[in-house]
């Protein structure tokens, strides 16, 4: 039997045209061959979602149709509202998201994933995010606004006031940057679920469940928590040196695929300067010292800053509370998850890998209970 690759590292588990991570050259390409840095200045999240689903950027008319369709799908249904209300207001926001998406998509009969469903699922995430935050604050939820963009609705439903254009721009750019990223763990989870012929909600719920992990979507919060502990640029050297001596991992550094600077981190780093000037100073010093320490300890490794590090600074500048970082990540990635599931339908084959047996040899005879 074939060799065991822990974490399936280097194994090609799918063919995809949705996005491509070129780790050697530090490039991220979305469907159609667009480099991420070329999309960011021109495309909103809605346009990028359209691109991931259709393979081309929308015309003005197509974009308008998508916006209208999303606006019409932003309200929670009765099942989702009832389920949301059932949960303690201090529940982990990712557990709220996992559960409410599941309830919103509960259906009578199994249906094949469709683009309309993908659009509806994507549209609902800001509503769940906003309601989760307001419940945590003991406030009533705010209804979505049809004339606001996806990113603006995120802030509107959280804060209940007209969001500042600067902050909307930060959130929108973040959503564009995180919308897809090759066969990451949550996307792969979605494709595994899809491979059994299951429905789109099941795929997205599985992906949310995977994104929750601190080794995946939870990493942005970990990076921000580390910056909070460091506190100021002056403290960075001392804090990181001590943490390194304790063998603590630095959050926000290293990536399995990128051998060089993550292109998304590069864009977010620039944005962070004006988005959150104070936190930027701490982060920039932290990055400098952390890379120095990591390079001294492991000169052979490509020790690069990852997207989570700079995303944590930009999201802070956008006024997103850190408890919602992973939920906002999901709010972006859901377009990628659904694009992957829809893509996989054309060549659906159940994903059922082999495993290496490390247990006792077959044929052990069970003892009766009385003799154990």
């Amino acid at each position: 039997m074939a060799e065991f690759s822990p974490g399936l590292e280097g194994v090609v588990a799918a063919e995809t045209a949705v996005s491509e991570v070129d780790g050697a050259n530090g490039r991220l390409m979305y469907r159609g061959g667009y480099l991420i840095e070329d999309l960011v200045p021109v495309a909103t999240y809605e346009e990028v979602a359209y691109l991931l689903w259709h393979g081309e950027l929308p015309t003005e008319k197509e974009l308008e149709a998508l916006r209208r369709q999303m606006a019409a799908a932003r309200k929670l249904n009765a099942s989702a509202r009832g389920t949301l209300a059932a949960m303690d207001s201090q529940t982990d926001p990712m557990d709220v998201l996992r559960t409410v998406v599941s309830a919103q998509g509960a259906a009578k009969a199994l249906a094949k994933p469709t683009l309309d469903e993908a659009i509806a699922l994507t549209a609902i995430f800001p509503t769940i995010l906003g309601a989760t935050w307001r419940r945590r604050q003991g406030k009533d939820p705010v209804e979505p606004q049809d004339d606001l963009s996806h990113a603006a609705n995120v802030l509107w439903m959280m804060e209940g006031k007209e969001p500042e254009p600067d902050k909307v721009h930060l959130v929108d750019t973040y959503l564009v940057l995180l919308a897809d990223h090759g066969l990451n763990a949550s996307t792969f989870a979605a494709r595994v679920v899809a491979s059994t012929g299951s429905d789109l909600t099941s795929c997205v719920v599985g992906a949310v469940a995977a994104l929750k992990g601190p080794a995946h979507g939870g990493a942005t919060l970990a990076a921000r928590n580390m910056l909070d502990k460091i506190g100021s640029a002056d403290n960075a050297e001392k804090w990181l040196t001590e943490a390194h001596a304790r063998h603590d991992r630095f959050s926000g550094f290293g990536h399995r695929v990128y051998r060089t600077y993550d292109p998304r981190a590069k864009i977010l780093r620039e944005m962070a300067k004006t988005a959150a000037p104070d936190l930027y100073k701490t982060a920039a010093k932290t990055e400098e010292v952390a890379l120095k320490i990591l390079h001294e300890a492991h000169p052979e490794r490509p020790n690069a800053t990852n997207v989570d590090f700079w995303a944590s600074v930009v999201l802070t500048g956008a006024g997103i509370p850190k408890e919602l970082f992973t939920t906002l990540f999901a709010t972006s990635r859901v377009s990628g998850w659904t694009a992957h599931v829809l893509e996989s339908l054309s060549d659906l084959r159940i994903i059922r890998p082999a495993s290496r047996w490390i247990g006792p040899q077959p044929g052990k005879k069970p003892l009766q209970l009385a003799k154990r």
Binding site: V12, D88, A107, V205
Partner: protein, 332 residues
């Protein structure tokens, strides 16, 4: 990094993990739990004993089994949130969607917790309650609260039917639960492991696994078998129905498996049980494949050049018939 860069559809033959929990020996038609061949466990062990074996790597002592049974019994009640969420779903909802949603609510937490055996026990205890409560609601019946003095299988039937089932029926459901408790790196188990690999929580892994199990190519199969058997109707119509179906290129439900090259050992045990318990259904279910060599009218063998294993009944076929005889929801 591995240099294996060719695309392997479905990850077939790719070793994705190491495990001591169960092994599917397809060539010899064997399923092994922690070293024990399934035939040695199926009709001897309770679901509780087998669950302990899968979690701890060995069979429990009497004291350990009692402790586990108590822990399961004590965690059968749904949380208030789960009860409310269950009621919020329309009664015509697909039971797998109900399970996915209510397991998710039952397991919500304030802070991320690492998976542990106690958390696994609590989750396992809640599944029958969720399914039974919902099943009764669909029938317009009052919910039945779980009982602590009954086994996992007996309590499930009690919550479904509102009365205790005969020992024979309890035993049949118990055997079914034992037979299906694990099966190598199947798609839902793999989904759970992918989710766990991000260091997410246990409930997240389970919710993802339920989503995968729902698919008709995986756990949805027994329900499809029952539907096909109902369409066939009686044993004497089986041959004509199957031949017509093949011409119409209708899939035969309950046949074929990626791994088993010979008869699925679970199917063998279920078939024998079905013969004892429900002879009429057995007759219907076995007619198309009454000889040891199934007729060459299976969807896979119908594809020229197919590298698939020879078609043989998968566990789904007798399982469907068994679940029907239990009057348990076929999605259980």
């Amino acid at each position: 990094m591995s240099t294996n860069t060719s695309y392997v559809p479905g990850l077939e033959g790719i070793v994705a993990s190491q495990t001591a929990i169960s092994m599917v020996d397809g060539a010899n038609g064997r399923l092994v739990y922690q070293g024990y061949v399934i035939a040695d466990l199926a009709e001897e062990m309770s679901f509780e004993e087998v669950a302990f074996l899968l979690w701890e790597g060995r069979l429990p002592t009497r004291a350990e089994l009692e402790a586990l049974s108590l822990e399961l019994a004590a965690n059968r009640t749904l949380t208030q949130a789960a009860n409310i969420a269950l009621d919020a779903l329309p009664s015509e909802t697909d039971p797998m969607d109900v399970l996915r949603s209510v397991v998710s609510v039952q397991g919500v937490e304030h802070r991320l917790a690492k998976p542990t055996v106690p958390l696994a026990i609590h989750a396992a205890a809640s599944f029958p309650t969720i399914l039974a409560m919902f099943h009764r609601r669909q029938l317009g019946l009052e919910p039945i609260q779980p009982r602590r003095d009954l086994s996992h299988a007996a309590n499930y039937l009690y919550m479904l039917n509102g009365k205790e089932s005969s020992p024979e029926i309890v035993r049949a459901l118990n055997t079914y639960l034992v037979l299906l408790a694990d099966h190598g790196m199947n798609a839902s188990t793999f989904a759970a492991r992918v989710i766990a690999s991000t260091e997410s929580d246990l409930i997240s892994a389970l919710v993802g696994a339920i989503g995968a199990l729902k698919g008709p190519a995986h756990g949805g199969a027994p329900a499809a078998v029952i539907e096909q058997l109902e369409l066939i109707g009686t044993a004497d119509k089986a041959e004509q129905w199957m031949r017509d179906a093949r011409k119409r290129k209708v899939k035969f439900m309950g046949f074929g498996h990626r791994i088993y090259r010979v008869y699925d050992p679970r199917a063998k045990i279920l078939k024998e049980m079905c013969r004892r318990m429900n002879p009429k259904f057995y007759d219907l279910a076995t007619r198309p494949t009454s000889s040891s060599t199934p007729p060459g009218c299976c969807r896979r063998s119908a594809c020229p050049g197919s590298s698939s294993p020879p078609p043989s009944p998968s566990h789904a076929s007798p399982a469907g018939a068994l679940m029907c005889s239990n009057r348990a929801p076929t999605t259980a």
